[in-house]
Amino acid sequence: MIWVVRLVVLLPALAGLAGLLARRTPLVARGVAVGSAVVVVALAVALFVAPMDTADIDSVGALPLGNLSAPLHLLSDQLSGVVALVVSLVVLTIQVFTVWYLRDDPRYTQFAATVSLFAAGMLLVVASADLALTLVGWEVMGWCSWLLIGHDSERFAARRAAYKAFLVTCVADIAMVVGFIALSVRARSTDLLDVLTVHPSAGTDALLTLGLVCVVIGVAGKSGLVPFHDWLPDAMEGPTPASALIHAATMVAAGTYVIARLFPLYAFDDAARTVLAVLAAVTMVYTALLAFAQTDLKRLLAYSTLSQVAIMLGALAAAPADVGPVPAVSHLVGHAFFKALLFLGAGWLAALVGATALDALRGRARDRRALRRAMAIGLASLAGVPPLIGFFTKDTAIDAAVEGATGGGGLRAWIVVVALFATTALTAAYCTRAWLLLDTPCPTPASTSSAANDSFEVEHGGTRARSLTTSAFDDGMPLTPLAVGEPGVLTTHGEHKPITLTASLSVFALAALTLFGTLLLLGLDGAVHVGVVSATVSLLFVAAGAFAAWSMSERGLRDAAERLPTRLRADAVIGFGADTAYARVGSGVTALARLVVVLDRDVVDAYPRATAVTARQLGRIGVRLHRAVPASALLGVVVGIVVVAVLGVTVWQ
């Protein structure tokens, strides 16, 4: 069993390496990527069914760090079993889907290898019982996200989005590293058990608070809490499977898992939890509002991810100590299933239509029954409709927060509870809006063409298989007005489904998990715990939100978001200028660096330069004194003798 834990981490990493080695033969690369994912699922099932409840599994041996012990252990328990299973399932479906989605991409093999490596990073975070290993997995994910988002590296927007994601998360990682160091120094060990068992001493423990707050900031970077949130919508420039991977079960959710692991410490530290609560509450409401106004399906889903991850973190911030981190992890699981489903469905739809702008997708789901059902299940689950998994996990999180608020959590928990209910209504509203748009047939096709050139449209053909030549659309589906001016089209088969059976099966598998995944969670203590009152209230909010959106859209005939003031909507689409703010911070840092350079060059370097000038002047004087005359040489000798003799006799001993 020990080897199972090690293999769960090692196998995807090896698969990534093997995939790179076999990049000349796509068939082998496909086999490696999908095959390894299947094996990892089997291993994860073993870990889920029979967790070992140990945290002393050696990985690569302890690091020799003097008096700081770093045993680099792995762990296996119920929590890690569930998350590992979910991660491996989602990765498997994504790998299968990718085989179809990027079948004509010349760099499919690199993409699949990166996905494998990404999975290895996430599984390392999941199985790690050591802060150092957690950090390694964390950074591997950060690096892989850069590769995945920038997969279409020939497009400027993709490159920019990749760098943006990398830089923003890395800046937050500075705090993460500082936080881990503070926690390790406090425990004199990086081992998770040691870190957790050093309980706070009497009074305030400044080092603990510093460490926990810094970890919150680091998590805020990767999970997209408010000042760091803007990288995630831009990350939609990556191919849809990459988006699904980043959003559903790995990078974004990793923060939840890390804080869940450290929960025993957070339970004792109100300051860090208050920071987390405020950030999560602001993020979940703000991004849900932004999601409502989006004009692009993928960006809408991205904002919904931010909102949902904030729900998990809010549950962690508000849950009482005895409830623990399980509700948050439970919502992580639920979110992983329905968000992966939504992204793959959106990718499927976009591949059929050729765009991801909502205007272009209007009514497109209606005549594709399987896809329509899948999207319906996903959106309903996101909105929190019973009996889908989203309902159970979200209401478990709400219940935990309410329990925390009524159980002495104070203002911190109440903020979260209020934000949670508001978010519930808003989520229902934007889900309803998206569904109505996808499902209602377009009244006049002509009107969409004007929207096609909408400047808000983000992804210009990025989700498409770009290597398809234009000669491929000789028959079948007529060009929609949208596709005009965009290189390449998506399908050669018109109304027929171009999707392969296996790829569609992967989507259906996710739909099934969204329907029945709750059963998986029953094995985890406290993972499904729906309070009657809170569930009723949240259902009311869901109904209210859905009804509001429905009525705003005039029974689906219009886009609900069109009721918003145009100016406000335009600002919301670009995230209220967060990107500009980031750029300002960047140029501020550059300006500061320039100032330092100037100071260094003109102030600090003045001294060395003065030394150089002095040396040159002294040398000139010396040259003048040295003429090739024996007399002056003798004079020097005589003076030298006198000086040396005097020194020698007077200073002797």
Partner: protein, 540 residues
């Protein structure tokens, strides 16, 4: 008085140069027209000298190869000496002395190769040039004999253990060099020789005075710790304090006298004049073999007084600091590479005596180690200069002549770069860096803070000095420089073309010796740079 025990095997390093002198004279008598023959013989003699000093280098620490031993403490005070004392020897070459002997012999080989004469045919072809006709055919054997004589003096100096041998060997090592400088025959070389001679006379007077004071203080002609420690046998009736003061004065005079040979400031004034006046090979000899001899002489004396356990010599510290600073400042202003190397010698001499402020085995070993790194690197630099001068004429003596050397002669530029970085103490010249650290260690250990600060500042200045030369080597030739050069080069290139046309083979031979010198010295520098333990281990 017991009989004198003579171990000839220990004497070979000195005997071979002397035999070489005889052989050179004989060969010259037999074939006076063969101009390379004296040098070939001299190279062989110096090479054998180096070979025979190897066993002395490899012997373990503490032992020494001795010769001319007498059974008792000395002739003069045999009645007062304890009877069981170990025999005293006039010739004692321990591993440190043997190491210096080996280095001197090898450096002499390189100098001889650099001095390899111009072939006769070339002299006929370019008879218009002023150089050859003056000294006729006698110049080569004289030069070879003088070089070998100076080498013999240096080798004896390292192993001498009594005042008489010490003084005679010192003169033997110095006087031939003065003649060699004068032999170049130019006006500047006469000036340099005169300056050298005058300074050397005064210094020798000082040395004799120092030796006399030593004898007065200790009553022993032997420069060994027993004599210095038991200063009781003094012929002059003195209390111990008076004897110590005499000893101190003698040490100071000896330091001053040898300071001339090491070109320590303020005894250095002859250095740039003599270097620029002499031929390149003689300048190389002055910069390497002469310095080895000077340090050997100083070490003989200082190891004898080390037993007194003095905290250190302020006089040496002052001389060292002055030399480094003045040498570097002056070198920074030179555009003539020989003058630059001359002032670099002054600065490096300061580094060589730096560790001697602490009178200890650590200090002497460090000093010798630093000297050897300096000698190897300087040999390489001079060999590159000699090669460049032979290629491009007088331009090779100025920094301008080295512009773009990297593109024209990559290997040569690489050797020069290694030599300069070694002198500056920067990687890839690792040995220079190691040498500087080794030299600073005793100073720091004894708490000479001000001296350490000055040394550190001079290390930085030194980097500037040598990088000033290295920069044109690695940068590409600037356009204006190329445009200006033909004016200077026209004569030189015409001569070069003439040479090449008249006798390409002879020219090849001429260069061959210089190239061999460069290859030998650069190989040694490379080996000790890669494996500094080889050099440091020799002197342990």
């Amino acid at each position: 008085m017991n009989g004198l025990v003579i171990d000839v095997a220990a004497l070979w390093p000195a005997l071979f140069p002397l035999l070489g002198i005889v052989a050179v004279l004989v060969v010259d008598l037999v074939t006076p027209r063969l101009r390379q023959a004296p040098y070939a013989v001299a190279v062989v003699a110096a090479g054998f000298g180096a070979w025979t000093s190897l066993p002395g280098v490899l012997q373990e620490a503490g032992s020494s190869r001795s010769s001319f031993c007498v059974g008792q403490q000395g002739w003069f005070s045999s009645t007062s000496a304890p009877p069981h004392i170990a025999p005293t020897c006039f010739w004692q070459a321990d591993s440190l002395a043997s190491g210096l002997q080996l280095a001197a012999s090898l450096a002499a080989v390189v100098c001889l190769l650099l001095a390899w004469p111009i072939a006769r045919s070339r002299a006929d072809a370019a008879s218009g040039a002023p150089a050859p006709a003056r000294s006729g055919h006698t110049r080569e054997p004289v030069e070879a004999v003088l070089l070998l004589a100076a080498l013999a003096g240096t080798v004896v100096l390292a192993a001498s253990r009594d005042v008489g041998t010490w003084l005679v060997a010192l003169e033997l090592a110095t006087l031939p060099v003065i003649v060699l400088v004068a032999l170049a025959g130019r006006r500047r070389s006469i000036v340099g020789a005169v300056q050298l001679l005058v300074t050397s006379l005064v210094s020798f007077a000082l040395l004799v005075l120092g030796a006399a004071l030593w004898f007065a203080a200790t009553g022993s002609p032997f420069l060994d710790p027993e004599a210095a420690g038991g200063a009781a046998g003094s012929p002059v009736a003195l209390d111990s304090a008076g004897s110590a003061a005499l000893l101190a004065l003698s040490v100071v005079f000896v330091v001053a006298g040898i300071g001339f040979k090491l070109s320590l400031v303020p005894f250095h004034a002859w250095t740039p004049t003599a270097y620029s006046g002499a031929t390149l090979s003689v300048a190389t000899f002055l910069a390497t073999v002469s310095k080895i001899g000077a340090l050997a002489a100083l070490l003989v004396f200082l190891r004898a007084v080390a037993v007194l356990g003095t905290p250190g010599f302020v006089a040496i510290a002052v001389l060292s600091a002055l030399s480094m600073t003045v040498g570097n400042l002056m070198a920074l202003r030179q555009n003539d590479v020989v003058l630059l190397l001359a002032w670099s010698t002054v600065a490096q001499a300061g580094w060589v005596v730096l560790p001697l402020v602490s009178v200890s085995a650590l200090g002497t070993g460090a000093s010798a180690a630093y000297l050897l790194t300096y000698v190897v690197a300087t040999l390489v630099a001079f060999a590159v200069v000699a090669l460049t001068v032979r290629d491009s004429g007088a331009v090779g003596r100025s920094l301008v002549g080295y512009e773009g050397l990297w593109r024209r002669h990559a290997w040569r530029a690489g050797a020069l770069g290694l030599a300069l970085t070694s002198l500056a103490g920067l990687p890839p010249g690792v040995i220079g860096l190691v040498g500087k650290i080794v030299a600073l260690r005793p100073v720091v250990a004894q708490g000479w803070v001000w001296l350490t600060v000055i040394a550190a500042a001079n290390a930085v200045l030194g980097v500037a000095v040598y990088l000033r030369w290295l920069r044109p080597v690695v940068t590409s030739v600037a356009e204006p420089a190329e445009a200006a050069e033909p004016v200077n080069e026209a004569a030189g290139s015409a001569v070069v073309a003439g040479r090449a046309l008249s006798s390409p083979r002879v020219r090849q031979v001429r260069r061959g010796a210089v190239v061999a010198a460069l290859v030998i010295s650069a190989a040694v520098l490379l080996v000790v740079s890669v494996q500094p333990d080889l050099l440091l281990g020799v002197l342990r």
